[in-house]
């Protein structure tokens, strides 16, 4: 049988194994795509340049001078990918933010899951140019693309017991080298009071500079609360929980003396390590000096949320 087969088909290759000509000719395209993919691994910012988002501009921050996209995407605090500022841009290259779902649970009518695609259709995407003040004493101006967090809250239908909202970040030690080291209590979690979460300034960002959010900035979706220190902005959100008690966040657990739940930008409340009365604007240059930090990072409209509250105590 074997002999017979070989006589008719001396090469011993089954017809089903022969690559069709069309597929064979595609190999160049495949190789080219592999080449592009390999190159894009080396140049993460250029890989992300491919996916432009549909959004409309808003008046928020249109008078501000933007921090360059290079600085915004190369100087990041994202401990799941390492504690160095340059680590996330390098280590998050292989991270896959799609497919993605967010689990919604706790004090809601019904626990459910939303995909990133559904989320992006809950409200029209808009550009918000916000100042971002890091607790370490530096700041940036970033053109985020996103939607108000309120849109998701309305969709989630929280019950009357929901007093706070808790954000839990994705945690995968296999793909996040920093998450293998217990520098913080993983998964990263952050929280807001419900009225803070409903404030129109609070957004879920899915992009920046008009394009899909780069991995090192918290892809595919992160929280942006411009009047609070940057660490409040949980990245790569995978779960949202509506709760009755104030959440104990990762940074509060790390050092309650240094990081409070509110973490409102406030030049009057000093941090044990860093001066909070002034800040360095990233990209301003070697000789630019510092600029004065403003209460609530200059977003005065949120002041009413804290009327009558002792901001020195509730830092």
């Amino acid at each position: 049988m074997l002999l017979d087969n070989n006589r008719r088909n001396p090469s011993g290759i089954l017809p089903s194994e022969i690559t069709p000509q069309a597929v064979f000719e595609q190999r160049r395209t495949v190789l080219k795509a592999a080449g592009v993919a390999a190159a894009s691994l080396l140049l993460p910012t250029q890989a992300h340049a491919a996916q432009t988002l549909d959004f409309h501009k808003t008046a928020y921050g249109k008078e501000e001078k933007l921090t360059s996209v290079e600085d915004v995407t190369s100087y990041n605090n994202y401990y799941e990918f390492g504690t160095g500022k340059e680590d996330p841009a390098r280590e998050a290259v292989l991270f896959k933010p799609t497919p993605w779902t967010i689990r919604i649970e706790g004090a809601v009518k019904q626990a459910k899951t939303i995909s990133i695609e559904q989320l992006m259709k809950l409200a029209p995407l808009e550009e918000r140019i916000y100042r971002m003040r890091c607790v370490e004493g530096w700041s940036m101006v970033i053109p985020w693309v996103g939607l108000p967090l309120k849109a998701l809250i309305d969709w989630a239908q929280p019950t009357g017991n929901a007093k706070y909202i808790e954000f839990i970040s994705y945690n995968d030690p296999r793909h996040m080298p920093g998450a293998r080291i217990p520098v913080l209590d993983w998964p990263y979690n952050e929280g807001l009071r419900m009225d803070e979460a409903m404030q129109p300034l609070t957004i879920l960002a899915v992009g920046l500079y008009g394009k899909v959010l780069p991995n090192q900035n918290g892809a595919p979706v992160r929280l942006v609360v411009p009047w609070k220190y940057g660490f409040k902005g949980a990245k790569a959100i995978s779960m949202i929980r509506f709760v009755e008690q104030m959440p104990n966040t990762s940074w509060m657990k790390a050092s309650a003396r240094e990081y409070g739940f509110y973490a409102n930008v406030n030049p009057q409340v000093d941090h044990p390590r860093w001066t909070q009365s002034s800040e360095k604007r990233i990209g301003a240059g070697l000789f630019a000096g510092r600029i004065k930090t403003r209460l609530f990072n200059g977003y005065d409209e949120v002041g009413q949320l804290y009327a009558g509250m002792d901001l020195q105590k509730n830092f």
């Binding site: 100087y75 520098v183 390590r273 360095k280 990209g283």
Partner: protein
């Protein structure tokens, strides 16, 4: 060269002039090497500064770099005494001053960066920063303590101060501890680097307590 050979050469077999000559050459070469090595970090900073290579936060980059190199030179200068006793090469003492002065040079660059590039000589803010933040306070104290050491790093001061010179320069241990505290308190969460530098410091101190160092002469 094995230790026993060196010991033999320097103690008896070789004529006096020859061993003195070879030590002189060794000192010269080692000093050249230290100068070359010490110029690399600052040259690199200047090059990166001119070519826009200092990253998103250039001031922080320079502060970190100069601070780290000041600490490295502090540890290098502390390594001379144990190294001398381990290798029996008494002439090594001749390069200690150079290492100490390079520590001082990098500490000065570090502080200048802080005062000028970071705070633009805004003295009100600087005083507030020093008084309010323990890590800045210990750093500033360490710098003040290096001033008398740098000022007395010359033959004239050694002769004039005699025994007191040695006691004065024991301040380097205090400076070491303060600088390490400065480092520990400044990092937010990841203490890997301060741990490594502290271990090296502890090792260099511990080596001074080993039995062989009892017969030291200076």
């Amino acid at each position: 060269m094995p230790v026993w050979i060196c010991r033999k050469i320097s103690s008896m077999t070789m004529p006096q002039w020859s061993s003195a000559w070879s030590a002189k050459v060794a000192i010269k070469y080692l000093k050249c090497l230290i100068w070359l090595g010490a110029c690399i970090p600052v040259s690199r900073l200047i090059y990166l500064g001119v070519t826009d290579g200092l990253g998103a936060n250039p001031v922080e980059f320079i502060e970190r770099s100069t601070g780290t190199w000041a600490l490295v030179f502090l540890l290098l200068s502390l390594s001379i005494t144990p190294l001398r006793h381990l290798t029996q090469q008494a002439w090594l003492i001749a390069v200690r001053r150079l290492l100490g002065l390079w520590m001082f040079a990098y500490a000065c660059l570090h502080v200048t960066t802080y005062l000028w590039l970071d705070y633009q000589f805004d003295w009100a803010d600087i005083v507030k920063d020093i008084v309010k933040h323990p890590y800045v306070l210990v750093g500033a104290t360490a710098l003040l303590l290096t001033l008398p050491l740098a000022a007395t790093s010359n033959q004239r001061a050694i002769k004039a101060l005699k025994q007191r010179w040695k006691s004065l320069h024991k301040l380097v241990y205090v400076i070491g501890v303060l600088v390490l505290l400065h480092f520990w308190w400044l990092v937010k969460k990841d203490v890997t680097e301060p741990v490594i530098y502290s271990l090296v410091f502890a090792l260099l101190i511990a080596l001074r307590w080993l039995p062989f160092s009892n017969n030291r002469k200076s």
